[in-house]
């Protein structure tokens, strides 16, 4: 078996999320150093506040201010902070029931070590210096041995409401493409195209994914295909993609490599875009660094007969 290929893969999105009226008031409150809860029909105060009662599903909107001090209801010591977590020094994860609330808020506690943390200990909010209307406007909690702070009387109405948050999310992977695709990529590095044949229906798949989607069996026999092929169908791209250094309009086509039973896709160059046609015979033009075809260009052969590729559309 050839060497297993691996490459770093980063999946990163800035999720832009809109807020409901209760969430909007809560996060605006944090920006203004006010902690709000929401009252339920049976008189409980939920912090953090939610739009609907988790027990009765009743619509909630009666906002009340609670104290920035509270009690730890459970904790866990994290000696090795991970990316994105609120503190970069060892800390305790805590659920904190703020004074005036009936439920607990998840956050972190800045404490010197696990021996300084216990369930039932008193803590207070440490506000972030820069606040934007996000749960991270609470920088963390800190130990507090004073009396319960007197909650203010804010009713949750603000001038300048936060109506959305941008939540960046990043996950890092080390991707490996598996046996069949590794074989395909190894061959591309040598400027060859290989597919795999289904032992049952005999179709040759390019690029191979390791299984015949029709028969549900492993494709194992490697088959060299191309390098030439036939345009089976195409489209004309008129909108320039971000970070893509190709002038529009250009043609993007399905290309059935000779010997393949499945078309792959690629850009067609070396011919005016309005002269590309079904049946056009093409060959790969390899990128300078190798590894994959940059585009395909006409070979100059006569066009392929429709009958030869009609099953590959």
């Amino acid at each position: 078996m050839p060497e297993v290929l691996k490459a770093p893969l980063v999946v990163e999105f800035p999720f832009t999320r809109s807020l409901g009226p209760v969430q909007s008031a809560f996060l605006t409150g944090l920006r203004e150093r006010v902690v709000l809860g929401v009252r339920t029909g049976d008189g409980r105060t939920l912090v953090p506040p939610v739009e609907y009662d988790p027990v009765t599903s009743e619509d909630l909107h009666d906002l009340v201010e609670v104290a920035p001090t509270g009690t730890v209801t459970t904790w866990a010591w994290n000696h090795e902070p991970r990316r994105g977590q609120p503190l970069d020094t060892p800390f305790a994860w805590v659920l904190v029931r703020l004074d005036g609330a009936d439920t607990a808020l998840l956050h972190v506690l800045d404490a010197p070590g696990p021996d300084a943390v216990r369930t039932g200990m008193r803590v207070r909010v440490r506000w972030a210096a820069q606040r934007s209307g996000a749960v991270t406007d609470i920088a963390c909690f800190e130990p507090y041995d004073g009396p319960p702070a007197e909650p203010g009387t804010h009713d949750g109405r603000f001038e300048d409401l936060v109506t959305g948050i941008v939540a960046p999310a990043r996950l890092d992977y080390t991707y490996s493409p598996g046996r069949a695709q590794s074989g395909y990529l190894h061959a591309l590095a040598e400027r060859r195209a290989v597919g795999e044949r289904c032992p049952s229906c005999r179709k040759v798949y390019v690029p191979p994914r390791g299984a015949c989607p029709t028969c549900g069996v492993a494709t194992t026999e490697q088959v060299e295909v191309g390098p030439r092929g036939t345009v089976t169908t195409y489209c004309i791209v008129n909108i320039k993609a971000k970070n893509l250094d190709i002038e529009v309009p250009y043609v993007y086509a399905h290309i059935a490599l000779d010997g393949a039973d499945l078309a792959l896709h690629g850009r067609i160059g070396g011919i005016p875009y309005d002269q590309v046609r079904m049946g056009l015979r093409v060959e790969p033009v390899w990128s300078p660094g190798g590894g994959h075809p940059d585009h395909y260009r006409p070979t100059g052969e006569p066009d392929a007969d429709y009958e030869t590729y009609k099953e590959l559309l």
Binding site: P48, T73, T74, A76, G84, L106, Y173, G178, G216
Partner: protein
């Protein structure tokens, strides 16, 4: 509330799983899954074309591979077009959907599969993305941290202590010594704290794997399996997403699901519990009223192999396989999803009386 009687007798008639391993770099997801699909079909003599309904469970976030479930379907051989569905959940919920489909009478057999490759990414971080995106996910509380909060709550309540948790881990991995598919087997050290009070030994191994089962209804089940594992009841329930709203020392959703599945009507001899963390077994034993006479996780459970998205389906498969082999008469299988046992599924399986 009495448990409802299913409209049709439906059984698990076959089960197969991969060896669960730390990495499977040499295989794509479909390459890892396909042998399991073939094995489970071979056990019944069925071919893809004979299957009435196919349902799978997986998550693209685990390996960072978009639409991986459509590529996994290549391993089924979905042509001519098959009746098929997918859940972005553990395969136990795919099994629930398939069971429902069979109840309607629209199909007599179903193939259910699930797979997960945790090795390409950091599963602790990946699982933060399932949390409340407004108040919780921005803090990136990883799956071990949340389980540790639950463990400390149990310790504070006097429900367990660290030696008792270590004993759960020890028993699970000792049981797994007989399970060639398991990833962590035999004697495994308790290790250092990962997030205190949980040590590495209290946490599941990280790895890759897949599983598949076949369901069949009525006489079809008897034709396909000598001793079908009849699903006497199955139900799933969910709790509030706010961790601070819940009592983390209890699992009312697991208890209600068990009640609706009929688990409390007669004792079970075996329980396969989906408890990736030792502390969660403590919660589940209490909620599901499992006594010391019950064989809990004879497979080793999730502490011995945790192919995320397939671990719950493996519980149902392992329980069914014990019935197939005549080692159990009545077994409870449990699957969980979300942080701190937020959502729970319970199935009760029985063999025919002998």
């Amino acid at each position: 509330m009495p448990a409802p009687t299913p409209l049709r007798d439906i059984a698990v008639v076959a089960f197969a799983q991969t060896d669960h391993r730390r990495t499977t770099d040499e295989f794509s997801e479909v390459e890892m899954l396909m042998p399991v699909l073939h094995e489970v079909l071979d056990r019944t003599g069925l071919r893809t074309g004979d299957i009435g309904f196919t349902c799978s469970g997986s998550s693209d976030y685990l390996a960072g591979r978009a639409f991986s479930f459509t590529m996994a379907l290549d391993g089924v051989g979905a042509w001519p077009p098959i009746s098929e569905s997918h859940v972005e959940m553990d395969g136990a919920w795919a099994l629930y959907e398939a069971w429902t489909k069979l109840l309607t009478g629209e199909a007599d057999t179903a193939l259910v599969y699930a797979y997960g490759k945790s090795s390409p990414g950091s599963v602790r971080d990946v699982l933060t993305r399932q949390l409340d995106p407004y108040y919780v996910a921005p803090l990136w509380p990883d799956s071990v941290a949340l389980a540790a909060l639950q463990a400390q709550a149990l310790i504070d309540a006097g429900d367990t202590d660290e030696p008792a948790l270590a004993a759960v881990a020890g028993r699970s991995r000792a049981s797994a010594a007989d399970n060639s598919h398991a990833q962590l087997r035999g004697s495994v050290p308790s290790g250092d704290y990962l997030v205190r009070p949980l040590r590495t030994g209290d946490c599941p191994p990280i790895g890759d794997g897949a599983a598949a089962v076949i369901l069949a209804a009525g006489e079809r089940a008897r034709e396909l399996c000598e001793r079908p594992a009849w699903i006497r009841g199955i139900d799933h329930r969910i709790e509030a997403h706010g961790l601070g709203v819940r009592d983390l020392t209890d699992s009312p959703s697991a208890r209600l699901a068990a009640e609706r599945a009929g688990a409390f009507e007669r004792p079970v001899d075996t329980a396969e519990l989906h408890a990736p963390f030792t502390s969660q077994e403590v919660v589940l034993r209490k909620a599901l009223r499992i006594g010391d006479e019950v064989s809990v996780n004879p497979s080793g459970g999730a502490l011995a192999a945790n192919p995320v998205m397939a671990t719950g389906l493996v519980r149902i498969g392992e329980a069914a396989a014990r019935i197939h082999r005549g080692e159990s008469r009545r077994a409870l299988a449990h699957a969980t999803s979300g942080p701190c046992l937020q959502q729970n599924l319970v199935a009760v399986l029985e063999g025919d009386p002998r």
